[in-house]
């Protein structure tokens, strides 16, 4: 397709993405080399770049501007607010995300996306290759990009979902599996999940080219096996988390309890419902009495 004329629209975002788009215009980021120009009126544009989650006041304007854009009328949503409203998801004036108001062709996740990611996304959409060295694309050590699970280490405790600042992590319990799913289209890339993970299983990598045409695919997931209750057989808890907790008790916290590890394990294998039964309570009390006696002796 010939010359690209971009019109930028922002409603209800933090304007970080807009500054990054502005930054794309400097020679370092080659946006100008791609035969792309930024225009001042929607009537002159054939590509619409959206940032922000769209609020009540921006909605009418967005619909008007979309009508005015010339064919082929490609719409690119840049930044996570334009994908899913991100952290402002539950804000009362928000009516977006934009793809519920107008058709969106491409999504560039990130908060905000690096200028390199925006330029690469535009180049990919145009089918142009940018000749650049490895250094140009490389994000520095410690960069907070796309998530990665270490399925060996992840025990499915859901601590990441608890701390998540943008409700980006779902914990979905199936019949025998638990799925921990990071929707990085929702993510604010704060890396609290990485800091909170007790087993360092979740990590933010240096990968940041996340262009997609379907925001439902902007996900990373990990499956963990669930274990059944030893009394009723109902599925209730990840096996790995029980192993981890037991190991922590008898090896790290109180080594003297090691003799009782099988008793502690059997107590832990009872689901919350069965724990309330008389027999279980009696057994638990007996175990606690034994443990406290052992603690006194030490």
């Amino acid at each position: 397709m010939g010359k690209i004329s971009v019109y930028r629209f922002l409603s209800a975002g933090c304007n970080g993405c807009d500054v990054e788009i502005l930054e794309c215009l400097v020679p370092r980021y080659k946006l100008a080399d791609l035969d792309v120009e930024v225009v001042e009126r929607p009537e002159e544009a054939n590509v619409l770049i959206l940032t922000g989650g769209v609020n009540i006041k921006g909605k009418e304007e967005l619909l008007k501007i979309y009508e005015a854009i010339n064919p082929p009328r490609i719409v690119i949503a840049v930044g996570n607010c334009a994908l899913t409203k991100e952290i402002f998801d539950k804000g009362y004036p928000m009516v977006g995300p934009p793809d519920q108001l107008i058709p969106v062709n491409y999504y560039v996740p990130g908060c905000p996306p690096r200028p390199q990611a925006i330029v690469k996304a535009v180049a990919d959409i145009l089918g142009v290759k940018i000749e650049e060295t490895e250094d140009y694309w490389l994000a520095p050590e410690g960069f907070r990009g796309k998530h990665e699970f270490d399925s060996e280490k992840c025990m499915g405790c859901g601590a990441c979902a608890q701390i998540c600042t943008a409700d980006a992590i779902d914990v979905i319990d199936g019949p025998d599996k638990r799925i921990i799913r990071v929707n990085y289209g929702h993510c604010s890339f704060c890396a609290f999940c990485q800091d909170e993970c007790p087993t360092q299983a979740l990590r933010l990598t240096r990968e940041y080219h996340l262009l997609t045409s379907d925001r439902q695919t902007a996900r990373v997931a990990n499956e963990v096996n669930l274990v059944g209750c030893s009394v009723c057989g109902g599925v209730f808890f990840p096996q790995k988390q029980i192993d981890w907790a037991l190991k922590r008790i008898v090896e790290e916290k109180v080594p003297a309890y090691k003799d009782f590890s099988s008793d502690i394990l059997s107590a832990m294998m009872i689901c919350t419902k069965c724990r309330r039964e008389i027999g279980s309570i009696k057994r638990a009390k007996k175990l606690l009495a034994n443990l406290s006696e052992r603690a006194r002796k030490l």
Binding site: Y7, R8, F9, L10, S11, A12, G13, C14, N15, G16, C17, D18, V19, E20, L22, E23, L25, V26, P27, R28, V38, V39, E40, G52, G53, N55, K57, G58, E61, I65, E86, I87, F88, K90, G91, Y92, P93, M94, C111, P112, R114, A139, P140, E141, G142, F143, R144, I163, C164, T165, A166, S188, F189, C190, A191, F192, D195, L204
Partner: protein
């Protein structure tokens, strides 16, 4: 016969959407109205639905440019509620990160000023050189913007000697950029011609409309929260509050340009005197009560008010951003100005409507003001 001219809301020259209604006679603006709300996101309500830790990321996203100072102001206020003493090293690190932010924010402002004055070459040079600060912040914190470096009880990432070395190196590389900007602002500079005498805000009017930050300092009033109510390690660092007397756009630009040197001075001092120790302590339970905290953001005084009911979720958070205080100054400066200078005047306070959008201001022709709160 006066006619009405609209600027905005969606104009690519303005980074953010806002709508100005200017009443013009001939070439002179005789009255101005400002309509906001295009960026309203209901943030103050959202604050009361999340825990204190989660709110850090939300506070940061009030504004993408001065994001760090929002988390710092929020964290300091929460720390007072929790009764936490931040380690000495964390205080110095906070100063370093926040002054880097001031650098990139001020350089961005010069970039946008150059853009609005149609100085394309200067725009590309300033924005290109500004990338050094962005790269440095990305290297230190893990993100170019919204870096979430302050946490409740300290900072999240340390500056080790090799990182300190890199900061020093990049500061040395940035000095020529500040010199270049100063050269644009000297008596024959490209900026001077187009900004001298434009959008004058006299000293007494600046006080009347309650301007803050560089807008106020450009009108001859030495007001800086870093000096008046020192936070982090600013009481132990030596720096000067920059003041210019003219009150026009050039004076505001000069304040910012000279402040970049002060920021570099602060960072170098903080790196030299960086004490050893921890970078963060664990947060504790907040007490029942209320606290107010303020910091000097790149655009001026930023105020946070937090009321706690003792749970892990705040009961009320109120944010007073610098751009909100400065908006009245824009209207003041626009009156009597020539129409072609309108954009320069609007940009001169470094407006950040993402910050401000919690209020609609209707300025009636009679001079009466009506404020409708969108809360």
């Amino acid at each position: 016969m006066p006619e009405t001219v609209y600027i905005g809301p969606y104009r690519p020259q303005l980074v953010e959407p806002e709508r100005f209604e200017l009443l013009v006679e001939g070439n002179r603006i005789i009255d101005a109205k400002l309509e906001l709300g295009y960026m309203h996101r209901g943030i103050e309500k959202l604050f009361t639905t999340r825990t204190y830790m989660q709110n850090l990321a939300l506070a940061e996203r009030i504004c993408g440019i001065c994001s760090g100072i929002h988390t710092l102001c929020y964290a300091q206020t929460v720390e007072r509620l929790m009764g936490i003493d931040v380690p000495e090293r964390a205080k110095y690190l906070r100063c370093i990160y926040m002054e880097l932010e001031r650098l990139h924010s001020h350089y961005l402002w010069f970039g946008i000023l150059a853009h609005s004055l149609h100085e394309h070459e200067a725009f590309l040079k300033i924005m290109g050189e500004r990338e050094r600060v962005q790269d440095l912040l990305e290297y230190l914190t893990g993100n170019r913007m919204n870096y979430l470096i302050n946490t409740i009880g300290g900072v999240r990432r340390d500056i080790r000697p090799e990182k300190a070395e890199k900061i020093r190196r990049i500061l040395k590389d940035l000095k020529p950029l500040s010199d270049y900007i100063m050269s644009l602002l000297d008596d024959n500079g490209a900026f001077t011609k187009k900004t001298k005498g434009v959008g004058v805000l006299p000293r007494d009017r600046a006080l009347d409309v309650g301007a803050v930050g560089p807008t106020l300092r450009g009108s001859g009033i030495a007001s800086d929260i870093r000096k008046e109510d020192p936070y982090a390690a600013y009481d132990k660092l030596d720096f000067e509050v920059i003041v210019e007397r003219d009150g026009d756009v050039r004076a505001k630009a000069l304040v910012r340009a000279r402040e970049t040197y002060e920021s570099m001075k602060i960072i170098e001092q903080a790196l030299d005197n960086l004490p050893p120790g921890d970078i963060a302590v664990k947060p504790s339970e907040p007490r029942v009560g209320e606290e107010v905290g303020r910091t000097e953001a790149p655009r001026g005084e930023l105020v946070y008010y937090i009321r706690s009911n003792g749970t892990n979720i705040p009961e009320r958070v109120k944010v007073r951003t610098p751009s909100y205080a400065n908006n009245f100054a824009i209207l003041e400066m626009l009156r009597g100005e020539r129409l072609e200078n309108a954009r320069t005047v609007i940009e001169s306070i470094d407006p950040c409507f993402a910050c401000t959008d919690r209020v609609t201001i209707v300025d009636a022709k009679t001079g009466r003001r009506r404020i409708i709160t969108l809360k």
